[in-house]
């Protein structure tokens, strides 16, 4: 991806200077219905996402990661006493300049549009046609699907569909990205390459990213901070800052003792949950 934002933002993204708050979450709770009436899924979640920060969210299956992300993305209403803001404005509906990458990728693509047109969806009418085309090819190339632009989503493998959704989000050049297990169906190689791409995008655009994953290596490798959800209702059980130098490298970074230490720390934090 090409460099879009100015140098000061990308330096901010390096995580050294104090940064302004992009997203605020105060006493956020969520109730969802179950067979036995409404159940509290999230209880009193408190945290800030800083401008340009990369935060990974981990937790056991069903702990509430998706729900938390949907709250930030304005797709689920938290309880009335909760305060959630994005870019300074209270979240009521999806915030401007923030894009969501869904866990259920198969359902988030429009089956009647080709891959190309699915990626185009968020750009149409917003950028000039030439720019749109360029961005689409660029982001399809990023996810390695330039050759499949003319196919329909149902002609792609699961991992490919997941990447189409990713391409659609990246093509929009958002200021905020909420990603729900975006690399969950990818093989190690494709995943590594996309991690690198995402890292680059993050550095160049200074986007604020919240990223749900089950892959501890991935969380440590990509993020500035790791939140571990636990409990019922879920709260933030652990908050682990990741202070590895950027840019990070698949081989070099993963051999750093600090990387290994963090990995172990996160692993222990997750093992500890759910018992």
């Amino acid at each position: 991806m090409t460099v879009e934002r100015s140098a000061d933002v990308s330096s901010a993204a390096l995580g050294t200077q104090p940064r302004s708050v992009a997203c605020q979450c105060r006493n956020a709770s969520v109730d969802l219905g179950s067979r036995a009436g409404p159940r509290r899924i999230l209880g009193d979640i408190n945290f800030d996402l800083h401008e340009g920060e990369f935060v990974a969210i981990l937790g056991r299956s069903g702990s509430g990661k998706t729900t938390l992300l949907r709250v930030l993305g304005g797709l689920v209403d938290p309880t009335p006493e909760s305060v959630v803001t994005f870019h300074g404005r209270p979240v009521a509906g999806p915030p401007q300049d923030v894009v969501f990458v869904f866990q259920n990728y198969a359902a988030s693509l429009l089956p009647w549009r080709t891959v190309h047109n699915n990626v185009a969806l968020g750009l149409e009418g917003k950028v000039p046609v030439a720019v749109k085309r360029a961005r689409i090819s660029e982001s399809l190339a990023t996810v390695g699907l330039e050759a499949r632009a003319a196919d329909y989503p149902w002609q792609l493998s699961g991992g490919m569909q997941q990447r189409v959704q990713l391409a659609r989000s990246l093509a929009m050049r958002p200021r905020g990205l909420l990603m729900d297990e975006p690399f969950g169906s990818l093989d190690a190689m494709t995943k590594a390459s996309l991690q690198d791409q995402l890292q680059q995008v993050h550095q160049h655009t200074g986007a604020t990213i919240a990223f749900v994953t089950h892959d501890i290596d991935e969380a440590v490798f990509l993020s500035d901070r790791i939140l571990v959800l636990d409990g019922s209702p879920a709260t933030i059980a652990h908050e682990i800052p990741v202070e590895l130098p950027r840019p990070r490298d698949q081989l070099a970074t993963k051999e750093l003792p600090e990387f290994l230490r963090l990995r172990r720390q996160v692993y222990d934090a997750i093992v500890e949950t759910g018992d």
């Binding site: 969520v30 109730d31 969802l32 219905g33 009436g37 409404p38 689920v76 209403d77 309880t79 198969a106 359902a107 693509l109 429009l110 089956p111 009647w112 329909y152 989503p153 149902w154």
Partner: protein, 278 residues
């Protein structure tokens, strides 16, 4: 399309933007397809203004108050109730038969391209037949009987159910069927446990379109053959220039359709109450 309408699931209940962000998708709130009675307001306003200007109109447009008194006379004379009964019976039998046959045929032509191709021209031929051409042949074959009426009604009401079912089958996610086959469900079991429930929203849509059609055709057969029923009364009213009575009967038929629609919607809400809130 692959995933579009995976959702028998999601097709279940309509949604409005304001309601979708509720936190508790409580059961019992799914009145989505049941139109509230306040929706009658425009019609009431229309009839009220008719009432007001009626005296200035021709005898062809008697005021609604006359309709009521004409209906009252009719029911006092003991004609209305048996006629209404005959019409309701024909309508119900026709609608039920159309629902069953329409679903079965819709499944058959939806699931098999070959069956679809084989039956397509014949079905489309039949679909284009006006009741006026069908009725004389039906009476010839079945006589001036209740059976004849039900057959004609069924043959006209079946199409929306058949076509909606057929289109529903084609929109289902193939993974659902593959799952059923992989679990070694028998053909019948697959239809009963997977295909049919998945198609319920389509079938109900078909029935909701078909219900008033069935009523209209019931009345039409009665108008054309004068075999019992409210339709026969409507035709007589119009021929006797008793327009008030005719309008009154049509209004009664409309109210009955509204009732049927409400019942179908309630049945649908009940049958599909476990579907995810859209």
């Amino acid at each position: 399309m692959t995933t579009l309408g995976v959702g028998p699931a999601d097709a279940a209940s309509p949604v409005e933007p304001g309601e979708r962000r509720r936190t508790t998708p409580a059961r019992g709130t799914r009145t989505g397809s049941l139109p509230p009675l306040r929706g009658l307001l425009p019609l009431v306003v229309f009839l009220a203004s008719w009432q007001l200007v009626a005296s200035r109109l021709s005898p062809f447009f008697p005021p609604p108050s006359d309709w009521a008194s004409a209906l009252l006379d009719l029911s006092r004379s003991g004609v209305l109730l048996p006629a209404a009964f005959a019409t309701v019976i024909t309508f119900l039998l026709g609608l039920v038969a159309a629902s069953v046959l329409g679903t079965v045929l819709g499944l058959a032509v939806g699931a098999s391209a070959r069956t679809d191709r084989a039956l397509q021209p014949t079905l489309e031929y039949a679909r284009a037949m006006p009741p006026a051409a069908v009725v004389p042949i039906a009476t010839l074959l079945l006589g001036f009987t209740g059976t004849m009426k039900v057959v004609v009604v069924t043959s006209a009401a079946i199409w929306s159910i058949l076509l909606n079912t057929r289109s529903g089958v084609r929109q289902l996610n193939p993974v659902m069927f593959e799952m059923a086959r992989s679990l070694q469900l028998g053909r019948f079991e697959r239809v009963r446990k997977v295909t049919f429930p998945a198609l319920l929203p389509s079938i109900f849509l078909g029935v909701r379109v078909a219900a008033p059609v069935a009523l209209v055709i019931t009345l039409l057969v009665e108008i054309l053959t004068q075999v019992d029923g409210v339709g026969a009364l409507i035709a007589q009213s119009q021929r006797n220039y008793e327009f008030a009575q005719g309008y009154g009967l049509i209004l009664v038929a409309g109210l009955f359709a509204l009732l049927v629609n409400a019942l179908v919607s309630m049945l649908q809400a009940r049958v599909m109450r476990h579907r995810p809130p859209a």
